[in-house]
């Protein structure tokens, strides 16, 4: 279950960015999607959330295929985009209400959870403001609250740490832990390797649209035996390897 990507070939035009990408994220697992700029991380994510149609290959969420049952497929996703996306005309309160309506959540119960999260991220006194006018970090927090107030089975998180203050980073990591504890599958793309190393169960290293290596940190160490122990070292080795190609 969780996320299953099989032999995915895809991209924005007929020229594929992703060349035969396969990986999976099990329920109750946090997987880091790692790679240089332009490696295909965001493209992979856009395919998983259904913005792009695969040229070849399959993606399943919780055993559901996007083509056969789009509604059930999307119902499972909570998504935090790389850049905050908000409706200009909705207040913070209305933004969250809209999400609850769209996902058919129990409004009263979800609001209890939402209020907790808003308090954590110090947004609880801004319910009647337009979040589109917030600072980057605060808008990012709105996206986090928006995603984590749901009981989604699949979390897709694209580069979540940029612009967040250290307290918020800590709180977000805790939320991710909680989601894992509930049995959700979490796919997170990031360049902040220190966080990834600490919180991800497994890693997928993308390079030029292909999965270079994947596995736990120990498995990665085995694949790059001479470079050093940390994810940082492995990542740099990968980057240098590409430069020398």
């Amino acid at each position: 279950m969780g996320i299953e990507v099989e032999h995915l070939v895809g991209g924005y035009s007929q020229v594929p960015v992703l060349k035969d990408v396969s990986f999976s994220v099990a329920d109750g697992e946090v997987v880091g999607l790692i790679g240089l700029n332009g490696a295909g991380k965001s493209t992979t994510i856009n395919h998983i959330i259904g913005l792009l149609t695969p040229i070849r290959g399959h993606i399943q969420l919780g055993g559901v295929d996007l083509k056969t049952d789009p509604s059930a497929y999307k119902q499972q996703i909570a998504y935090i985009p790389e850049l905050p996306v908000l409706y200009d005309e909705l207040t913070l309160q209305e933004t969250l209400t809209l999400t609850m309506m769209a996902y058919g959540l129990d409004v009263e119960k979800t609001w209890i959870r939402a209020h907790e999260l808003l308090k954590t991220f110090r947004l609880d006194n801004k319910l009647n403001w337009f979040p589109a006018n917030f600072s980057k970090g605060m808008r990012q927090k709105v996206m986090i609250v928006n995603a984590f107030m749901t009981n989604a089975k699949v979390f897709i998180i694209d580069e979540p740490f940029l612009g967040l203050d250290p307290v918020a980073v800590h709180d977000l990591l805790q939320l991710i832990e909680e989601a894992r504890g509930r049995g959700a599958a979490v796919l997170m793309s990031t360049h902040v390797l220190a966080n990834a190393e600490k919180y991800c169960d497994r890693f997928i290293l993308l390079n030029q649209g292909e999965v270079k290596v994947s596995g736990t940190l120990d498995q990665l160490r085995a694949a790059f035996p001479d470079v050093g122990g940390s994810l940082d070292d492995i990542y740099l080795a990968l980057a240098n390897g590409e430069r020398n190609d």
């Binding site: 913005l51 059930a72 409706y87 200009d88 769209a102 337009f130």
Partner: protein, 410 residues
Amino acid sequence: MVNVMTDLQKLFSQRLSRHAGQLLKYLRLVFTDHFVIALFFFFGALGFAYQNELKTLTLGVWWGPWLTMLILVITLQMGRLATLLEPADAVFLLSAETTLHQYLKHARNYSLLMASFIQIAVGVVLLPFLARGDQMTLLEAAILIMTQLITKAAWMNWQLQQGVQQEKHSIAQVRLVNWLGAIVIFGLSLFVSVWVGLIAALLALSASIADLGKRWQLGQLAWQSLITNENGRMMVLYRFFNLFTDVPQVKATVRRRRYLDPLWKLVIGHSTNPYLFLFTRGLGRDSDTFGLITRLTVMGMIILIFLTNQWASLVVMLLAIYLIGFQLLPFYREYEGKVFTHLFPVTKGQQLSAFKTVLTDVLTICAVLFVIVDVAVNWSWLRLLIDVVAMAAELIIFIGWYSGWRLRKS
């Protein structure tokens, strides 16, 4: 260093020629042939009326100086400091901050020249009134206009001073000086003597020059306020041009419009369709679409007030509803650019039905308003019946069939 100086001096003329080119482009679009002819007639009629009024004016009316003062004080506020600074300057020119004085002086001079045109134009139009209403001699009137120009120069310096000082005056403080100072100077001119007013204006100017001289030496600029002011000034221009043509810089602003909140509840009821939630707020708060609907509706109502012919009224009503509905159709795709719109587990059918609900509500309100105005002006049962039947038929055809066909097609 010398190099930077000369380059920065050229910078203002570069900016100015680009700015002028841009203004020219838009002015060509504003002053089309028809508009010029309309303006010609408008100002001709205005001038004619002014002339007739002057003839009937008793010499030296008591309210003459008061009216003059009001006009001069308001005119004085026109013509802002145009620095032509851009947001990126705060980053790229920050290191050249201390050498920007020349640039800003050029900007001040250009702004003053532009503002002087307005001041002189108003002064010239005012001349006959000064002669009759205030019983001034030509010399006195000329000195009054001179006072106006000198005060404007002082005000321009004062505006520039806001940009080169670090302590910030509150808006209230600035306004107080702008208006009260002008009232004092023109009060002296009109109620004491034009010479006293002139001296007061000269004092204000020399004070502003001395003050500015002191600030220059400190060398720091209030970038934030300089850039905000310049953006604000450009926005005023763009908004004006936007009345005539599409200006890409004018982005729709969002207004909260709290008073519409009960309306949403009424429209949405117990529906759980998220699109209904989104479309209602979007339409009500997006100033572009909201403004368009209200403008068309008000215009339709005004036309209906003046039309007595039943069939002409009916055509206007049908046309207005069609126009409003047609202009609303693109709003269906307003949110396609937002990723969450695609992520929501919601069907296309729900989106379409929500849009139709909103369309029905908006058009029904417009139609009811039109019918009310029409029958209020020309009451008859028959007229009411025909209006209602025609409107209902149009709404059914437009919403039930036409809108769906259009939206599927595009």
